[in-house]
């Protein structure tokens, strides 16, 4: 029972055009893509994990200074961005659902909405970055910092203690590294969804083939989850006083 490779390829041609030559079934192809995506996300966890590890060590060492620097961030903007990202996770799920049901128009709309929410997040983030530049809170030769430690506001001026500007600079180094890497992932995600929206508009995806939508959705959820950790770690240090 021998089948030549050419015959195998030909046999596939009658099936789903999205089925690649080296897979036996569509199920095998989908499972492979899905496992590949989860492994990629495991890789991403370790990638961000290195920075989270550095952050946690310095936060433990320089807690007061990090608390002071953290209060330079706007909780309002951070909270709005958190809400925006959670909404974008919802629109991604709805996009996957629309693809599964074969609703092309709905799929394109949900994808576009996700892009819009992603851009809103990036816009707000850019505004926050701009403020850091204005206040000279960007690490480097122009960095300057003169703020009280948390809990010092009510004390007489002579007793007030100020945060160590070097450690505050460390905080902002981590802030820019972590949120910057996160924003880079957001930009890549927006690019992916723009491509997917175009392909979806052309009718490439449907109930029988929507793996790229699903896997890109996984990526987007991961990027959201990173932010869900970044927001309390960076914005909410020592805020309970």
């Amino acid at each position: 029972m021998q089948t030549s490779p050419a015959a195998v390829v030909e046999a596939h041609a009658h099936d789903n055009p999205a089925l690649l030559h080296h897979f036996a079934t569509e199920g095998q192809q989908k499972n492979a893509a899905s496992l590949g995506m989860w492994l990629f996300l495991a890789q991403e966890v370790m990638f961000f994990g290195g920075m989270f590890c550095a952050y946690l060590i310095y936060r433990y060492k320089y807690f007061g200074d990090f608390g002071s620097a953290s209060q330079q961030l706007s909780i309002t903007l951070g909270a709005i961005n958190t809400a925006v990202l959670i909404c974008s996770s919802l629109t991604v799920v709805l996009a996957v659902r629309a693809a599964q049901l074969g609703k092309r128009t709905a799929l394109v709309i949900w994808l576009l909405l996700t892009i819009v929410l992603g851009l809103v997040f990036l816009g707000i983030k850019a505004d926050e970055y701009a403020e850091k530049f204005e206040k000279h809170h960007v690490p480097g030769p122009h960095f300057s910092y003169h703020e009280l430690l948390p809990g010092q506001e009510g004390k007489p001026a002579a007793e007030q203690q100020y945060a160590n500007p070097r450690h505050a600079e460390m905080y902002f180094s981590l802030y820019f590294a972590m949120t910057g890497m996160h924003a880079l992932h957001m930009i890549i995600g927006v690019g992916i969804f723009a491509y997917l929206a175009l392909m979806a508009y052309r009718g490439k995806y449907g109930a029988e083939y929507y793996t790229p939508i699903e896997n890109s959705g996984l990526y987007w959820h991961f990027v959201d989850i990173v932010w869900i950790y970044l927001f309390p770690l960076l914005y909410l240090i020592d805020r309970h006083r």
Binding site: M1, Q2, T3, S4, P5, V8, L20, H21, H22, A24, Q28, N31, A32, L35, G36, L39, F40, A42, Q43, E44, M46, F47, F48, G49, G50, M51, C53, A54, I57, Y58, K61, Y62, P139, G140, P141, N164, R166, H167, E169, M170, S173, L174, F176, A177, M181
Partner: protein, 546 residues
Amino acid sequence: MATAAVVETGERENYLNATYGLKSWLLTVDHKRIAMLYLISITFFFFIGGFFALLIRLELLTPASDLVQADVYNKLFSMHGMVMVFFFLIPAVPAVLGNFLIPIMIGAKDLAFPKINLLSWYLYIIGGILMIYTILAGGVDTGWTFYTPLSTEFLNTNVVSAALAVFVAGFSSILTGLNFIVTTHRMRAPGMTWNRLPLFVWAHYATSIIQVLGTPVVAITIVLVFLERVFHLGVFNPALGGDPLLFQHLFWFYSHPAVYIMILPGMGIISEIVCCFSRKRIFGYKAMALAVLGIAVIGFLVWAHHMFVAGISLYAALVFSLLTYFVGVPSAIKVFNWTATMYKGSITYQTPMLYAFAFIGLFTIGGLTGLFLASLGIDVHVTDTYFVVAHFHYVMVGGMVVAYLAGMHFWWPKISGRMYPEGWGKLAALLVFVGFNLTFFPQFVLGYMGMPRRYAAYPPEFQVLNVLSTAGATILAVGYLLPMVYFLWSMRYGPIAPANPWGAAGLEWQTSSPPPTFNFDYQPVVTWEAYNYDEIPEPEEVPVAN
């Protein structure tokens, strides 16, 4: 047209003659062709790294720093390390032999993601170009470890391009590992159960786990070094309260497991070869499979043994010392099981088997001296001496490179469809073994006597041993050049190889040599395990090249 080519040459259609032209290679998604692209590029970087090694040995021929000055010497050993580690040792076996063999061994048409496989080669090439740029632009002298704050604050050499080179090459490695894991899970032929998987595939599976989970940590660490140099962020900067030890922790979290990325695939090769040339089933199959996974897992928990004298706490050092001893257990299981496999086997002494013998002996020495270094007292005495240099070269060169050569000889008939000249092969194996030991055994002694590594000059009483070492390196270089010459020669003049010249039991020997583009003419169904040598006849007369 593919069929026309077959008619013209009268040869069976295979992956080499299926299509022609540069484009058919550079845009290929065939795992076998990508493996060949890797073979060429990795060989190129091996000889660049080897060239730096020879310059280092030439400088050390005399006690004074006369051939090169100290700053140039710093660059030589840094670039030797970076090129060899990131562009040869880590990718060599997985990207060449693993890429070529894993799909065939499990009865698949290709890796799960052929385009990602090609992408990973292009990433390797981009990283390689950045590395070459680094070398041509004047080099880098951080050591291959990029330790901060030396690399971030004090050096004015090409740290940024070197860091980018390592970063990009790292993602090539991640994608290869990801591809192998998915392929092993999802692409196995009917009947190829996990318990029938060749140990070569098990070893690559374990390696891939390290590649996927370890490499991103060094990637982000290198990004932080890059941000520190270019944008003045200060995560490792002591002036901002940054901790240089943090860099070392993050770096070795990957770079210690990375030595298992280098050695585990080699162990997979040795398992296949020892069985084939002893005509016996592997001793303790399950223990062998679990041992590679064990090494991969425990290997993640031992990194701080590189930092015993760097200022970590005594308790941390004690814990990491103990954990390091634990790695010795699965490693010893491997060595004992190989020897037990050979026991009462019907051993023949072809070139791959000679390399396998060399591997087992040299890896044992390299591994045991690793345990010396794991004990805190001895480590304090020999840290940053040639003892450490000798130790890791016994594992990396005596282990990994020897295993790579063993695998290249064993599977060369499958890869090229031609036999290499056996006599020359044995001579090269002998030269490598003698040259290697002459190069690195004196370094154990030098290190124990107190000669520090990374210096261009040394006291005159160390000269005799250094001359021996340099002489050995010259022999070793000849031993490496020979296979390259006769492999190339055999592609044209070697005798045509049959499908299974060694009478080996693995699935890869069931298809023709070289294999067709989709590896098998039919979907293989596996009903045996890879080592049932009891039922496989001795090989027919192996064609011999003169």
